[in-house]
Symmetry: C2
């Protein structure tokens, strides 16, 4: 099966303002929480979200372009993973703090 | 001298999305960095910022209403402090991670 990584910023290109903006939206935060519970990655369609497919795709793209998650295709599926190591290296504690928030 | 606290959310009213949105703006992040270096508080006008007074006031208000900082008046001055303890209790690590970001 062919896998292909979708474009994303290198670690050194990630900007904290962009990450914070990406995280500061309820649906995107829900996506990040789901990914945090699935270190092996999760198919985009498998995250339960109260939004249309196009809104879901938009949010996933915003998170990917901010540097929060990576997405690759496996055949027709898109699998996303959290860029935990990159974020922890750049902003130690940030993601842990965000995930500690009560829902 | 009369001091008066400006309105702000109680700790339990603070929402992580609102905090992230408040932090995800370059000038507001600059304010937060300045406050992090001044635990005793800082007069709003004393923070060097590349914006007009009204924009500055708007950003300070956004941060206060999000729960990121407290402001009180001392006579005609407005002194702001970071709500470090509240943020650290709610989202342990978040502020440290944000402040670790390269400028």
């Amino acid at each position: 099966m062919t896998t292909r990584a979708l474009p994303q910023p290198d670690r050194k290109e990630i900007r904290v303002e962009t990450v914070l903006q990406a995280l500061g939206e309820p649906v995107r935060l829900q996506i990040v929480r789901a990914l945090a519970d699935a270190p092996e990655g999760i198919a985009c369609g498998d995250i339960e979200l109260p939004v249309t497919a196009s809104t879901r795709a938009h949010h996933l793209r915003t998170l990917r372009e901010a540097g929060v998650l990576s997405t690759h295709t496996e055949g027709t599926r898109r699998i996303s993973t959290l860029r935990r190591e990159d974020l922890e290296t750049l902003y130690p504690g940030l993601l842990t703090g965000v995930l500690a928030a009560q829902r």
